[in-house]
Symmetry: none
Subunit: 209 residues, 4 copies
DNA sequence: GGTTAAACGAGACGGTACGTCCTGTCTTGGC
DNA sequence: GCCAAGACAGGACGTACCGTCTCGTTTAACC
């Protein structure tokens, strides 16, 4: 999740190098401020003051305060997307769900996620970056799992891979954003049951009359 | 969807009455501004100027600009929640879904919905009002439908009513907020298939055991 | 020296009146700051902070910080231009000179004068206002005295009224701006002798050969 | 007019020599920028950019942007002070005046002069350098002329040499700074008449008694 | 001829101030 | 008491420069 991508692997530019210290201080300050007063009270001005940097340094490397938070989140939480491959849709799905849910249960992480999604509604340019650098990556991971399941004939519920993905992320985000409810293993199990009904599960006899 | 609830059905107060003209002008101005420049560029100042009213009048009757937009949305779109009762989960669900989807396809409506959900992430007090006055009402309607289906034994997918509700609204909001995708009849059908898998296809023969 | 002249004696405008308290606080703060750190370190931001007002209030009523200082100077020192009329050029001139010099010897006043003249070199719009509201008024006063002397035949040095005015203000400003030297009665006397050589003075016999 | 005097005639140092190209490019850029946007819009940053040099190079050799302009002025105009010695105060004075006036009539030169005087009001350290390196030199030249006239008994107006100098430079600077008026031969003649009133008119017959 | 050191273009850095916009409150006079 | 108008204190915006500090390169003098 590079901030700009300006460096095209040709660091042979003149001038002083970007300060890694400042970068870290800014991300830490942003994290702290979101945790203390919430994203609504966050301002570039406060980040600069708290981190002991100049506003220009923030504007130089990030396009908006949401981008700072997005990178702070990446630094804070290991957002690396796991790609389980157990050979069973139910198991793969359960793995992805419990991993995602446990991350979303960390208060600071969920606060940041909610803030980023909110900002994306209001700032179209950031929405694009948020989608490309965050949302789509997770969709792709789940999509791969579902594609494999589809190939194995395990996706028997009559919904497309795309829609199944929407169901999974839909419920995750809806519980984050709309009606705060627990994202626990019981919910994960319900979703697994819904999307990957086992041969002896709920719908076993339904489809083979 | 009263704006504040200040008026306690006791209009026997002295002084000038609230101006209905101003109220309407404010809501119209808010609608127009959201349509033109987006919610991000909306400000109380601009609403007052556009509507030819004073800022104080807005602050007097609404708690925040999000509340203005929420009322503007209510004025704009008929948000009355339909409560179908066909006796079949699939049909009831399809009815709710297509109604909701067609509303969400109106650009201004979806813009406002997205804005309100965004604001709710950043302003906890508004989040409470938004939940109570908007989100929960729609959950309750769907909940009633699902409760009836449950009683008839139609909810066979092994998910609770609560979770099924989350699945429905989850996918709706996710497509609004995260990955803009069509909210069409095909999607409605997929969701019906997922949550109300009929033994011999949709609807047919369901009622004659 | 009205700041804007917006009020055209028709105060029948709606809205809150201009706060006289804020106006005074701003002028006092500007005076103090010029006295403490000099005009070079003066900023709108500091004036606002010191005076306990908002920057907008300053920008609303003054076009630049130089205009604030100009009005602060008017408030500080009695800049009312005396118009002596003794019937003698020498006496009139001496009166104007000693009055002007004694004002210019007040450190804060001279600091402000120098700052305003400096700003006028760099900000053409302010230069116009400074000329019209300050410099020209004083020129006019001296011009009147010299016109009267001319009519009485006392201006015998062969310089025009315009040039004589320039000589007087030239030396005043030059000593303020360029080579700090005392502006005392001795200098006044020298200028009187130069421009109004009395009948028994230096040039008495010069012109009647 | 050395820029800093850092080089103490001991060039026996290792390392790269000062680049004459950069020096010239900086002075030219400063001239151009003052001519285009005025001294008020001048900044070290723009000089560096325009001249294709680094800011550090400017800071290394000049103490402030005013010092750059002062040196640019010296490069631009021949500021060498003429020292006429005709044996007649009127003629010497006229020579100095017309020379100075014709220089001050060059727009860019007068703009620079005004800027430097303005900066001197706001930056005491620069004021010192400006006085020593520019103003005082011209005073000294005129002082010499007047001293000689005094010795010859030509200074009959009853003003000291110091004051007479102030009269000359006062009117010059006043017309530059305060009330833009022409600095032409007519004015020079008036000043000559004022300070060197010849018994039978200007210059005529004075030298061949 | 290698070493040392200063000057150079470039540009990031911590800061300060700019002038604008908006917030939520207060004040005024009219309805 | 509501309303339009608008002034107020305050805070943040995004930009421009300040003067300083790396960078890697170039150019001399010295050893």
């Amino acid at each position: 999740m590079a901030s700009t991508g300006k460096t095209l692997d040709q660091p042979a530019r003149p001038g002083r190098k970007r300060s890694e210290d400042s970068r870290r201080a800014i991300l830490v300050a942003a994290s702290e401020l979101v945790g203390e007063d919430g994203y609504g009270a966050l301002s570039i001005e406060k980040i600069a003051q708290r981190s002991g940097t100049g506003k220009q340094t923030i504007y130089r490397w990030w396009a908006s305060k949401a981008d700072v938070v997005m990178e702070a989140l990446a630094m804070k939480a290991d957002l690396h997307v796991r790609l389980p491959d157990t050979g069973s849709l139910a198991d793969d799905l359960r793995d992805v769900l419990t991993t995602s849910f446990s991350l979303a249960r960390v208060p600071l992480v969920s606060d940041m996620l909610r803030s980023l999604m909110a900002e994306a509604q209001v700032d179209p340019a950031f929405a694009e970056r948020f989608r490309a650098e965050f949302l789509q990556r997770r969709r792709n991971a789940l999509g791969l799992i579902l594609d494999r399941a589809m190939a194995r004939g395990e996706l028997t519920t009559g919904v497309s891979v795309h829609t199944a993905t929407d169901v999974v992320f839909g419920i995750l985000w809806y519980r984050l954003l709309a009606i705060p409810s627990p994202l626990d293993d019981a919910l994960a199990e319900e979703i697994v049951r819904l999307l990957a009904p086992g041969p002896t599960g709920r719908g076993s006899g339904r489809r083979e009359p």
